[in-house]
C-alpha cells in the first residue's frame, strides 16, 4: 500500500482534470458524483496507507516517496516528494473523510445551480491542494498547496460573484493571506540558509542535533506564525474569515471550518522541532491564540446571522488550537483539530440545511421551532452543539479538556481566559440552537425583525448587513420548512456519530487509551503535561460546570422567555426573569457596549489596518505620481539626478 501514496493527491487531481474537460457535459448531478467518487477513492487509499502504517513499529511509521526533482538548480533543491507519517496521514484521513461527506452533501445543496459542475471542479482542486499541503515533504511543496488552497478558497468565496459583497469578501481573503504568505516565504529562505535544505526530514534532523541557533529558530517560528495567522484566521488577520461566509455553505464547512484554516496549525506542528528551540515565540503563539479565542467568542455573541456565529466560533476554536501549540501540547492540538473538524463541519452543514429549508434566510431572529419541521437536522445540530459546548461524553469535551490542562500547566492566566471562552462558547452556541430550533415560529410574524425584540441582546446586527448565502431570499409568513434530501442528511448523521464518539481517539484514563498520543509520538515526541489525575478531574469538572452554566444562562435568556406567558408567570421562574433582566441590563449597558466595541474594533481597527496599508501605498503613489509629469524635461532631470547621484557615490568611494 505504501507505494500508492501518490494516489492520494492524484485522485482528486484526476477528478479536477476530468471535470475541467467534461464537467459541463456531465452536468447536474453526475459531475458531483464524479467529484465525490474521486475524493472517496482518495479516502480509501488513505485508509490503506493508514492500515499499513499502523502495522509498523513506531520508528518505521514514515513513508517518504520522491516522485521527481522539481527545482534542480544549484544549492537550492526541491523535490516533488510525499511524506506520509502519522501526522500527515491523520490530516489526510479527516481531509478526505470529511471532504467526501461534504462533497456528497454539496450534491444536494448545489442542486439546480447553474454553475454546478464548476463548483465541484474547484472543490476537487481544493482537496488536491490541501493534500499537497499536508503530504508535501518540503516547505516549498507545502507552500504550493498553501497558495493553492488560498486560490481555491478565493474562487469559492466569490463563487456567486455577481454579488459585489461576495467579490470583495474574496478579495479580502486573498489579500490578507498574501500578508501571511510573505512570512512564509521569508521563513522558508531563513530555513534554507540555516539548515541548507527545506525538506522536513532534514529540518527535523538539524533541529534535533541543535544545528539551528535559538535566535534563528525564534525568527523562523515567528515568521511561520505570521503565515499561520493569515491562513488560520488569528489576531490580527482573522477579518477575512467571517466575511468568507459569503460563499456557499459546503465551502464554509469544508474550507473555513474543517480543513484549510487548520493548515496553519498543521504547519506549526510539523515544524515542532524548530518550535522546541524557539523560546519566546511559543509564548507569543499561545497568547495570540488565547486572545483570539476570547475575542472571537465575545463577537460571536452579538451575531444574528446563523453562519456568522459559526464563523466567529471557528476563529475562537482555532485560537484554542494555537493555545495548544504554543504550550507545546501538540497532541491536544491535533486531537481538537480532528474533533473540531467533525462537529464544526456538522454544524455548518446543519446550518446549510436550515438555510435551504428556510428559503435562504440566514437571520436567526426569523427562525424558531424548526425541530418540528427538520428533525434530523435538528437532532444532529444538537449533537454538534453539545460537542462544542464541552458536554461529556461528546468529543469536544475530551479534546478541549486536554488543551485546558496544557494551559493550566503552562500559565494560570491562559487557563482562566480559556475557561471564560468555554463559558461564552456554550452560551452563544446554546443561543443559536434555542433561537433556531426552539421557541415560537418567528418567521410567521411578518415584522419580527422590524419591530424587533427591542430589549433583546441581539438587535444589533440587522439583517441588512449580514452577508447572504444566496442570491435572493423570500421568506414568507406562510412558509413551511421541510427536511433536506438524503444526500444532505446522510453526511449529517455520519458526522453526528463522529462528533459523539470522536473523543475516543485519545481518552485520558490510562496510557493505553491515549491512542492518538502514541500514534503521533514519532512526529511530535513525548510531552508530559505534568498535571496529576486529581487536578485533571477537577479541571474537567470546572469546565463542565462552566459549560452548563453557559447553557443554562442561554436557556434562561432565550428559551425561558419564549415560554407562553401563562407558564412563565409561575413564581419559580422568577430567578430566570431576574437573570434575564440582569443579563439584558448588562447587555443593554456595559456588556453590550463591550461586545459592540469589540465588534467595532474588529471592523475599524483591524479591517482598517488592512485597508490602511493599501491606503498608505495609494497615498505614496499619489505623491510619487506628481513627479511623473509626462514632460521630457522632467524625465531628463530624473535621469540626470540619478547620474549625478551615481557619480557622487563613486567619487565618495574613490576618496576613501
Amino acid at each position: 500500500m505504501s507505494a500508492l501514496v501518490w494516489l492520494i493527491p492524484a485522485l482528486p487531481l484526476a477528478g479536477f482534470v476530468a471535470l475541467v474537460v467534461g464537467g459541463r457535459r456531465l452536468g447536474d448531478p453526475w459531475a458531483g458524483w464524479l467529484a465525490t467518487a474521486a475524493v472517496g477513492g482518495s479516502f480509501l487509499v488513505v485508509l490503506g496507507v493508514f492500515a499499513d502504517l499502523v502495522g509498523r513499529g513506531a520508528e518505521a511509521r514514515s513513508i517518504h516517496q520522491e516522485l521527481f526533482t522539481w527545482i534542480p538548480a544549484g544549492s537550492f533543491q526541491a523535490s516533488m516528494g510525499l511524506l506520509a507519517d502519522p501526522l500527515s496521514i491523520t490530516m489526510c484521513l479527516f481531509v478526505t473523510g470529511v471532504g467526501s461527506l461534504i462533497h456528497l452533501y454539496a450534491i444536494g445543496y448545489m442542486h439546480g445551480d447553474e454553475k454546478f459542475s464548476k463548483f465541484f471542479t474547484y472543490l476537487n482542486l481544493f482537496i488536491f491542494s490541501m493534500l499537497m499541503l499536508v503530504l508535501g515533504d518540503n516547505l516549498l511543496l507545502t507552500f504550493l498547496g498553501w497558495e493553492g488552497v488560498g486560490a481555491c478558497s478565493y474562487f469559492l468565496i466569490s463563487f456567486w460573484h455577481t454579488d459585489p459583497a461576495n467579490a470583495s469578501a474574496g478579495k479580502k481573503a486573498f489579500v490578507t493571506n498574501r500578508v501571511g504568505d510573505w512570512g512564509f516565504m521569508v521563513a522558508t529562505f531563513l530555513v534554507w540558509t540555516s539548515v541548507g535544505s527545506i525538506g522536513y526530514l532534514d529540518i527535523a534532523n538539524a533541529a534535533h542535533h541543535g544545528e539551528i541557533a535559538a535566535v534563528t529558530a525564534t525568527a523562523i517560528a515567528v515568521l511561520f506564525f505570521v503565515a499561520a495567522t493569515g491562513k488560520s484566521a488569528q489576531l490580527p488577520l482573522f477579518v477575512w474569515l467571517p466575511d468568507a461566509m459569503a460563499g456557499p455553505t459546503p465551502v464554509s464547512a469544508l474550507i473555513h471550518a474543517a480543513t484549510m484554516v487548520t493548515s496553519g496549525v498543521y504547519l506549526l506542528v510539523r515544524l515542532n522541532p524548530i518550535l522546541h528551540a524557539a523560546g519566546w515565540a511559543n509564548d507569543l503563539i499561545a497568547w495570540v491564540g488565547v486572545a483570539t479565542a476570547l475575542v472571537a467568542a465575545t463577537v460571536a455573541v452579538t451575531q444574528n446571522d446563523i453562519k456568522k456565529v459559526l464563523a466567529y466560533s471557528t476563529v475562537s476554536q482555532l485560537g484554542y488550537l494555537f493555545l495548544a501549540v504554543g504550550t507545546g501540547n501538540y497532541v491536544a492540538a491535533i486531537f481538537h483539530m480532528v474533533t473540531h473538524a467533525f462537529f464544526k463541519a456538522l454544524l455548518f452543514l446543519g446550518s446549510g440545511s436550515v438555510i435551504l429549508g428556510m428559503a435562504h434566510e440566514q437571520d436567526m431572529r426569523r427562525y424558531g421551532n424548526l425541530r418540528k419541521y427538520m428533525p434530523i437536522t435538528a437532532g444532529t445540530f444538537i449533537i454538534g452543539w453539545l460537542a462544542i459546548a464541552g458536554v461529556p461524553p461528546f468529543s469536544g469535551f475530551w479534546s478541549k479538556d486536554e488543551i485546558l490542562a496544557g494551559a493550566y500547566a503552562h500559565n494560570k492566566v491562559m487557563l482562566a481566559l480559556g475557561l471564560i471562552t468555554a463559558l461564552l462558547t456554550a452560551f452563544y452556541m446554546s443561543r443559536q440552537v434555542f433561537m433556531t430550533f426552539f421557541g415560537p415560529e418567528r418567521w410567521r410574524e411578518a415584522d419580527a425583525v422590524a419591530t424587533g425584540d427591542g430589549d433583546h441582546a441581539d438587535a444589533h446586527d440587522s439583517a441588512h448587513d449580514s452577508a447572504h448565502d444566496d442570491h435572493a431570499h423570500h421568506l414568507t409568513p406562510d412558509h413551511t420548512p421541510s427536511e433536506s434530501p438524503w444526500v444532505m442528511t446522510l453526511p449529517l448523521v455520519v458526522l453526528g456519530a463522529l462528533a459523539i464518539v470522536g473523543g475516543a481517539l485519545n481518552l485520558p484514563f490510562t496510557d493505553s487509551t491515549k491512542v492518538l498520543e502514541h500514534w503521533l509520538e514519532p512526529v511530535v515526541g513525548v510531552h508530559e503535561l505534568g498535571v496529576e489525575g486529581a487536578t485533571l478531574v477537577a479541571l474537567a469538572a470546572i469546565a463542565v460546570v462552566l459549560g452548563l452554566v453557559g447553557i443554562g444562562l442561554a436557556g434562561a435568556v432565550y428559551l425561558a422567555r419564549r415560554i407562553p406567558a401563562s407558564t412563565v408567570e409561575r413564581p419559580e421562574f422568577g430567578w430566570g426573569l431576574w437573570i434575564d433582566r440582569g443579563y439584558a441590563a448588562f447587555m443593554g449597558g456595559p456588556g453590550r457596549a463591550l461586545f459592540d466595541a469589540i465588534s467595532r474594533f474588529d471592523k475599524a481597527v483591524i479591517d482598517g489596518a488592512v485597508d490602511g496599508v493599501a491606503n498608505a501605498v495609494g497615498a505614496a503613489g499619489a505623491v510619487l505620481r506628481r513627479t511623473q509629469t509626462g514632460r521630457v524635461r522632467n524625465s531628463a532631470i530624473g535621469l540626470a539626478t540619478g547620474a549625478v547621484a551615481v557619480l557622487v557615490y563613486f567619487v565618495v568611494r574613490m576618496s576613501f
Partner: protein
C-alpha cells in the same frame, strides 16, 4: 620648443573658446536657426582640436559629416517646419527649470572633472593596443583598424543605416485616416488637421 608649445597652447585656447561659446549659444539662444549655427561653430572648434592633436582624417570627416550633413539636415527641418521664429519659444524659461538644469548639468561637469583629475595621469603612457598613431599616415592606420580590429563593428554600422532608411520611410508615410486620440495640445491652429481630413 617654447614657440611650438605656445602655438599649441594658443590653438587650443582659441579652439576651446570657440567650442564653449558655440555650446553656450546652442543652449542659450532663442532662435533655432541661431542654435544650429552655434552648433556649427562648436563642431568647427572640435575639428580644429582634432587637427591640433594630429587627427587629420577625423577633422576632415567632422567638418564634412557634421557640419556638412547633419547641421544642414537640422536647418532643413527648421525651415520645413517653419519654426524659425523666436516667438515660438517666448515662454521658454522657467527660472526653476533653468536652475535645476544648470545645477545638474554643472554637477555632471564638475563630477566628470573630479574623476578625471583623480585618474587622468594613469591614462598617460603609451600602450597602444590597436596600433600606434602615425600623424602623417592616420588615414591608413584608421582604415587598417577598421578592417581588422573593428571589422565587426564596421559591418554593424550598416544595420544602423538600414534602420535609418526604413525609419525614414515609415515615419514619413502619411496617416491613412483621421487622427484618433485628439490631444490636449495648446492648439495654435485649432482643428486644422480635422478640417483637412474632412475636406
Amino acid at each position: 620648443m617654447f614657440a611650438t608649445s605656445l602655438v599649441q597652447t594658443l590653438t587650443f585656447a582659441i579652439a576651446a573658446m570657440i567650442c564653449v561659446t558655440g555650446a553656450l549659444g546652442v543652449v542659450a539662444l532663442r532662435n533655432p536657426v541661431h542654435n544650429a549655427l552655434s552648433l556649427v561653430a562648436t563642431l568647427f572648434g572640435v575639428a580644429v582640436l582634432f587637427i591640433a592633436q594630429e587627427a587629420y582624417f577625423l577633422a576632415a570627416i567632422q567638418v564634412i559629416v557634421y557640419a556638412g550633413a547633419i547641421v544642414v539636415l537640422f536647418l532643413f527641418v527648421i525651415m520645413l517646419l517653419g519654426v524659425d521664429r523666436a516667438e515660438s519659444f517666448a515662454a521658454e524659461r522657467h527660472p526653476l527649470g533653468l536652475a535645476v538644469g544648470g545645477i545638474l548639468g554643472g554637477g555632471v561637469m564638475v563630477l566628470a572633472a573630479v574623476t578625471l583629475f583623480a585618474g587622468v595621469d594613469t591614462a598617460t603612457g603609451r600602450r597602444s593596443t590597436v596600433g600606434a598613431l602615425a600623424p602623417s599616415d592616420d588615414l591608413n592606420r584608421i582604415g587598417r583598424a577598421l578592417f581588422t580590429e573593428y571589422a565587426f563593428a564596421f559591418e554593424l554600422t550598416s544595420l544602423l543605416l538600414t534602420i535609418a532608411v526604413l525609419g525614414a520611410v515609415l515615419l514619413s508615410r502619411r496617416a491613412s485616416g483621421p487622427p484618433i486620440d485628439l490631444d490636449e495640445f495648446p492648439a495654435e491652429e485649432p482643428d486644422a488637421d480635422a478640417e483637412e481630413v474632412e475636406a
